[in-house]
């Protein structure tokens, strides 16, 4: 328990002192269970002007175990239209699954997702979006994603 809290405390301190990268802001980080950050893709991209919100959920084994990350879908925020983002906000990204390592951090994940959105060529949903969303679990870590498209 202490490991995850200590590490998250350190990350939080770093965010508060060094600030967040461009396009990323800290919305809410009151406890060591759930954090909210906002994400915006800067420069010329398909998502110019769109603001998204990310929800991070940590478990006691963080950073040994990966955080559960998804886009927030409510009245204010929508999931971005991306071939790796489902309409319920779940993200198909290797760094959140098999490629997770403790060298990454919350900010690192945000930057990776920012670049994933920025490099997107075509705004569309994943091909199995409807089927996935109908049967999706609440926690995206429970899904066994198959990472096939590496360039997007």
């Amino acid at each position: 328990m202490a490991v995850s809290s200590r590490r998250l405390q350190k990350e939080l301190t770093e965010i508060k002192t060094a600030g967040t990268p461009c396009g990323i802001t800290l919305l809410k980080a009151d406890d060591f269970q759930t954090w909210f950050l906002s994400l915006e893709v800067l420069g010329e991209s398909q998502y110019k002007g769109e603001v998204f919100a990310l929800m991070f959920r940590f478990d006691p084994q963080y950073p040994i175990s990966a955080p559960a990350v998804q886009f927030v879908v409510d009245d204010k925020y929508k999931a971005p239209l991306h071939p790796h983002v489902y309409s319920n906000g779940h993200i198909c990204a290797s760094i959140l699954g098999g490629e997770w390592s403790p060298v990454l951090s919350v900010i690192a994940v945000c930057i990776t997702l920012q670049s994933m959105l920025a490099s997107c060529k075509e705004k569309k949903r994943p091909p199995d979006n409807d089927r996935y969303v109908a049967h999706a679990p609440d926690n995206p870590k429970k899904t066994r994603f198959v990472y096939h498209d590496d360039e997007v």
């Binding site: 490991v3 200590r6 590490r7 350190k10 990350e11 084994q61 950073p63 040994i64 175990s65 699954g97 098999g98 490629e99 997770w100 390592s101 403790p102 060298v103 990454l104 066994r144």
Partner: protein, 478 residues
């Protein structure tokens, strides 16, 4: 700084008690040994991270571990994985055995039904010749053909396959030799002198009844002709025109539908009455569906077009109709046997019928076998042309007259087939009668009026109300 827990330790301020640090790879990442070990252990447990467990996330160098790994442990791990593999094999084998035994059970049922059907249809004598009751005597193709019998009986009732019932069955057996039971082999030996090898094992070229092979070939044509002419007859009786549109048939599965629906004759006969009649859901009833539509169209002006017009084109498969369909199909051999028996009885009174049915006394001689005759011919002495001629003659005879076993036997199968045809004709006529009477019933319906005694006269919507309510005639127009 440990890259896992992000704790820092300064060189001049060592932590008490001292923790072990490790630099396991080529890049600048360092970590507490305990943090790294717990990371490696947890990612080895997780299937999605296991391939990367021993790799540095930044530079990709493989971590090297040292541990107390004696031979005993290695041996036990190996043993465990071998036994697990065996366990997997056992699981697969067990499941497939269960499935296979189900399939085998189904196969046994189908085959025994097939043998029963063949016996019913071909008659006992023939059955003993070609199959006998003991499965160890059956020729190899019996085991393929027999289970197909119930399947082909059922699907021959569907519109697709009306012309092709039991084709594999007949093709195989019209030419098969009689089964070699030990009993037959012994009698054959004893009569070696009597049955000379020169006797051809096939019957004359043109024979009555025609050989089963011919009957099989002619059967589709006969059915098509029959259907066409009967359909015309039906349309004439019912007074309908044949529908021009394609019969788009949807199958509606309503297996829980317990309503006893009246026979659907036309659009107006909506399912509402609880009579003892059941709805004709069988595809045989597609003739009704076809004529239903034009009937509905004719009466469109008088009565509102009903959404049931579309429903007329669907075939409702209720539990009743499914049972009738399958049960009827499986009863065909028994029915044909009964009809054949009836015909046999009738033939005692009519020599003409006897000739037509070609009733013969049961055969007495030993059955001929193809092989024997084949071997006895001087093949090597004949020229190629003659060989060809003999071969063609043989084939034609088998097609035309059937093997001698068929030719000399009492053709139970022939009268069974004829009987079945008569039965089908009679059944179709009865159905037609049913339809016709239903139609008449609907056409002759009138609603009975009652007198107005006891009704308040002021309630009625009359133009010139009379004084005495009893004087009101039964109204035709209000």
């Amino acid at each position: 700084m440990c890259y896992i827990c992000r704790e820092e330790e300064h060189h001049d301020q060592p932590v008490e008690p001292p923790v072990a640090w490790v630099h396991p790879c080529n890049c600048t990442l360092v970590a507490h040994e305990s943090c790294l070990l717990s990371w490696i252990q947890s990612s080895q447990q997780d299937a999605s991270r296991a391939p990367n467990a021993l790799k540095c996330p930044q530079c990709g160098t493989i971590y090297e571990l040292e541990s107390y790994n004696p031979r005993t442990l290695r041996f036990l791990n190996k043993l465990n994985s071998v036994v697990s593999m065996a366990g997997k094999v056992v699981t697969v084998a067990g499941v497939s055995c269960v499935i296979a035994s189900f399939g085998f059970g189904v196969y046994i049922i189908l085959t025994s039904y097939g043998a029963y059907a063949v016996q019913e249809f071909l008659g006992k004598e023939f059955f003993d010749l070609v199959l006998t009751e003991d499965p160890s005597n059956w020729p190899w193709h019996a085991f393929i053909n027999l289970p197909l019998v119930p399947v082909s009986l059922i699907i021959s009732r569907t519109p697709l396959f009306e012309g092709f019932p039991l084709v594999p069955l007949f093709l195989a057996w019209t030419t098969s030799p009689p089964v070699q039971t030990t009993e037959r082999l012994m009698t054959a030996r004893w009569r070696r002198a009597m049955t000379s090898g020169a006797d051809t094992p096939w019957g004359p070229l043109i024979n009555w009844p025609p050989s089963p092979l011919m009957v099989t070939f002619l059967y589709p044509f006969v059915t098509k002709l029959y259907r066409r002419y009967f359909r015309r007859f039906q349309h004439w009786v019912m007074g309908t025109e044949p529908s021009t549109g394609t019969t788009v048939r949807r199958y509606v599965w309503a297996l829980n539908d317990d309503r006893n629906l009246q026979v659907q004759v036309d659009v107006n006969a909506l399912p509402a009455r609880e009579e003892g009649q059941q709805q004709q859901g069988r595809p045989q009833g597609n003739e009704e569906q076809q004529e239903v539509d034009p009937n509905g169209e004719e009466q469109e002006a008088e009565l509102p077009q009903d959404p049931a017009a579309v429903a007329e084109r669907t075939i409702r498969v209720t539990s009743a109709s499914l049972g009738r369909f399958v049960g009827g199909a499986l009863l065909i051999p028994k029915i044909s046997n009964w009809m054949g028996a009836i015909l046999f009885r009738l033939s005692k009174y009519s020599p003409l019928l006897r000739r037509f049915l070609a009733i013969r006394p049961p055969r007495t001689g030993a059955p001929e076998v193809f092989g024997k005759w084949f071997d006895s011919q001087p093949w090597s002495q004949m020229s190629v042309a003659r060989q060809l001629g003999v071969g063609v003659h043989m084939a034609l005879s088998v097609v035309g007259g059937g093997t001698k076993t068929f030719a000399e036997c009492d053709p139970v199968w022939w009268r069974n087939s004829v009987g079945l045809g008569i039965f089908v004709l009679a059944k179709d006529c009865v159905n037609l009668l049913h339809l016709y009477l239903t139609k008449r019933e609907i056409e002759t319906r009138r609603v009975k009026s009652r007198s107005f005694e006891g009704v308040d006269i002021k309630e009625l919507d009359l133009l010139n109300p009379p004084q005495n309510p009893a004087a009101l005639p039964l109204p035709t127009v209000a």
